[in-house]
């Protein structure tokens, strides 16, 4: 009846996951009860859960990423503490639990923190920057988000029901095969990634189509803000690379469920094929994550330097070059595994070449700052911190791109330090910069600068104190994923790294404090103009938060830096649209399709993991029926009457006029 599921699935003998699970459960229950008692449920359902508004979906993506960041971060703290105390002892985490933690940490940080964070920011901002009212496929967008949430839910479920994979974040066979991992851990891993992978692919298709097909009047490709370009490149990579991941995991699942032999050691299987395919997805994946971050930094650096982006066209070229070259370097993840000198040399050279367009970008940001009036607001701090950190990470990356050096450093703590250096310094700093920069746009009030700067400095310092020692430990020969060790020379560095983790955690607490303080002082921090940073692109041309239709009129773009251009013209002439003629606006209707689909996908995923076949069929039928009901809908749009548009827009226009006249008086 319940497949492999019985009471032994609950880890009663392991206090840590049980207590953590209980706390999370109580917290979720408390929030749910609070929501129901306060009567917020209809609001949540109509305004958020069923919303197909790209801004709302973007915010929900970022919320999911933030919550999962705390989960992945707690895993990180446990690992650092374990390695600090596990010198000639077993530490406080038994090996099988430690293995689950490092696997969960990697999986969560990449798939459920970095991915939703950047996809959320792209969703939130790209349609605004393009000057359009919505994304290309609003309901599909909602489906994509909820499927990602399903994946996150399944990963967290493994904490209390069953176990998670003990195989590392990419689950290499034969370790992840049935003979070495007979439990449900790898199945949790694979099914949550399959389901959230569909969500990511859907988001990618949606954003590519949005950038290619929906742009406002005059928004040529070479007038798009840099963030739109990097969004295009990143989502092209999603569309091209994620099917490889899906196919690879599908083959692994066939091996595990139906006795196939794609990646087994017997019957003609080849484990190296998994290695090859997973990295053919895995390397584009890191550029999927970091390209949007590059876009965010481009926006931030240019806004806070008060200058147009230096070398816009070279930046576009560099972005698209990275987009293509990222598909030519994947073997550098397994230089040591026997491909031989010819193959290694070519892939080593390609890996060094991809550093060139990245270097072009760094110089462009530096030259954008050069001669500018730089304001060191919090987003700009993250951007500058990124440049310093990312250069160090990039240099160590070029070092490990040299095959002979890689033979020394492969799978060492040096490598761990390198990829944290680029992912934290690149993606996470970018996500935080974007968060600070666009928060006023999303919610209508700025974030507290004092706590923001504290958060930056603690995170920045904490990062170096945590990860520079790992470089040294790697040089001293420490390999990654060690549950305990006997080498005295490594120990001091593990202590320092654990101390760094403490500083990093203070940074995270500062960030939470910043949110709390800002929400409390939101009236004082209110952004009435819609343009708190003196911005340059179109998202600042509408109010904060933007109305559901984003723009009452489609902005008319006449050059790069569209909004900057409009502002400079508006100061000379009177404002355009003196008595604008408002028109009815059609917007897509809310739809619970995404939520219901994800509900059934969760049931199906859980049933697949536990081999509960009747439930698999039930979930599958449910998800398909939801799709059919949506496909047969009659009305999918509603009309906002012109009078309502006028009422909303006039408020914004008044604020803006007073701003421009004030600037004129100065």
């Amino acid at each position: 009846m319940l497949g492999k599921l019985d009471w032994s699935a609950i880890p009663f003998d392991q206090p840590i996951p049980l207590i953590a699970g209980a706390i999370v459960l109580v917290a979720i229950l408390a929030v749910l009860i609070w929501v129901v008692v306060k009567g917020h449920l209809p609001y949540l359902w109509h305004e958020w859960i069923t919303s197909v508004d790209h801004k709302r979906i973007g915010v929900m993506y970022i919320l999911l990423a933030s919550v999962m960041l705390l989960r992945g971060g707690s895993d990180a703290i446990m690992m650092r503490v374990q390695q600090a105390i596990a010198y000639q002892s077993n530490g406080f985490l038994p090996p099988e639990h430690y293995n689950q933690i490092f696997s969960a940490h990697g999986t969560i940080m990449i798939f459920f923190v970095a991915m939703p964070f950047v996809i959320g920011l792209m969703n939130l901002i790209v349609p605004l920057q393009l000057g359009v009212r919505d994304v290309a496929f609003p309901t599909l967008n909602s489906v994509g988000f909820w499927l990602t949430a399903t994946g996150a839910l399944l990963v967290n479920l493994s904490l209390v029901i069953g176990e998670f994979a003990r195989t590392g974040w990419l689950a290499f066979p034969p370790l992840s095969g049935l003979s070495y991992s007979p439990g449900v851990g790898v199945d949790y891993y694979a099914w949550s990634l399959q389901i959230s992978g569909v969500g990511t692919l859907v988001a990618g298709i949606n954003l590519v189509t949005t950038v290619l097909k929906l742009r406002t009047k005059g928004m040529n490709y070479l007038r798009m803000p840099m963030f739109c370009w990097t969004t295009l490149a990143s989502n092209l990579l999603i569309v091209a690379a994620f099917p490889i991941l899906t196919a690879t995991l599908a083959m692994l699942l066939l091996d595990r469920y139906l006795g196939f032999h794609f990646f087994t050691n017997e019957a003609g299987g080849n484990v190296m094929m998994f290695m090859n395919l997973i990295w053919a997805w895995g390397h584009p994946e890191v550029y999927i994550l970091v390209l949007p971050a590059f876009g965010i930094f481009s926006e931030v650096v240019s806004t806070f330097s008060g200058k147009a982006l230096f070398g816009y066209r070279s930046m576009v070229l560099a972005t698209m070059a990275i987009c293509v070259i990222s598909f030519m370097v994947w073997l550098h993840h397994f230089f040591t595994m026997g491909a031989g000198p010819d193959v290694n040399a070519i892939f080593g050279i390609a890996s060094m070449i991809i550093a060139v367009p990245t270097g072009v970008k760094i110089y462009n940001w530096l030259f954008t700052m050069y001669g500018g009036r730089i304001r060191f607001a919090t987003p700009m701090l993250w951007a500058v911190g990124f440049m310093v950190t990312f250069i160090i990470g990039g240099l160590t990356g070029v070092l490990v791109a040299v095959p002979p050096a890689d033979f020394m450093l492969h799978n060492s703590m040096f490598l761990v330090a390198h990829f944290h250096n680029v992912i934290i310094g690149g993606v996470l700093f970018g996500a935080f910069a974007g968060f600070e920069y666009w928060f006023p746009k999303a919610f209508g009030f700025r974030l507290d600068e004092r706590w923001g700067k504290l958060a930056f400095w603690f995170t920045f310092l904490g990062f170096y104190v945590t990860f520079l020692p790992l470089y040294i430990a790697g040089m001293l020969g420490m390999t990654r994923r060690l549950q305990h060790y006997d080498v005295a020379a490594w120990r001091p560095w593990m202590f320092i790294a654990a101390f760094g983790m403490l500083i990093l955690s203070i940074g995270v607490i500062c960030q939470i404090m910043q949110l709390v303080v800002s929400i409390r002082n939101r009236e004082a921090l209110r952004d009435r103009t819609g343009d708190p940073w003196d911005g340059r692109s179109l998202e600042w041309a509408t109010s904060s938060p933007p109305p559901v239709f984003n723009f009452a009129f489609h902005p008319d773009v006449r050059g790069e830096d569209a909004y900057w251009d409009m502002k400079s013209r508006a100061q000379q002439q009177s404002l355009e649209h003196e008595a604008p003629e408002y028109q009815d606006i059609e917007m897509p209707r809310n739809s619970p399709t995404g939520f219901i689909c994800a509900f059934f996908a969760t049931i199906m995923g859980f049933a697949l993991i536990w081999h509960i076949w009747w439930m698999v069929i039930l979930g599958g039928i449910g998800a398909f029926a939801t799709f059919v009901v949506f496909a047969w809908r009659d009305h999918d749009e509603y009309v906002i009457p012109a009078a309502e548009v006028a009422r909303i827009d006039r408020v914004n226009l008044e604020e803006r006029r007073s701003l421009v006249s004030m600037a004129g008086a100065l």
């Binding site: 094929m273 090859n276 598909f327 073997l331």
Partner: protein, 129 residues
């Protein structure tokens, strides 16, 4: 969202959208495509079983016919043309082909080297015997 197509519709087609042709012209297009596709399919089956051509050339001939078949499908059924309205579709196809070429070609190359350097255990045993 109907008012967002600022570029004239005839110059901005989504994949699968039809240009404004008369029904007759479109039917002719599909019939020609169908005939070509059937012809290529029939030829492939014929070539595979015949001894009229030099035997070792048969795989090459089948590959050529398969590529021609893809071309017929792209032009007549998926409407990939060289017109200015089709730039996005052509670029998407080119990008897809490039990625497939890189991944498949790279995989064949890598796996070949891996197999040569690290043959499976039973082969090593055989060479040592």
């Amino acid at each position: 969202m109907s008012d967002q197509a600022h570029v004239p519709a005839s110059h901005d087609l989504a994949p699968g959208d039809e240009e404004q042709h008369s029904v007759g012209a479109r039917i002719v297009g599909y019939v020609v495509g169908l005939a070509l596709a059937l012809l290529l399919t029939a030829t492939s089956f014929f070539i595979a079983g015949t001894d009229l051509v030099w035997q070792p050339s048969i795989p090459v001939a089948l590959i050529v016919l398969a590529i021609a078949q893809m071309g017929v499908h792209l032009v007549f059924f998926l409407h990939i043309t060289t017109g200015p309205d089709n730039t996005n579709n052509v670029l998407a196809l080119a990008f897809g082909l490039l990625v497939v070429f890189l991944v498949v070609g790279g995989t064949v190359w890598i796996m070949g080297h891996l197999n040569a350097n690290m043959p499976p255990m039973d082969q090593i045993m055989k060479t040592r015997m």
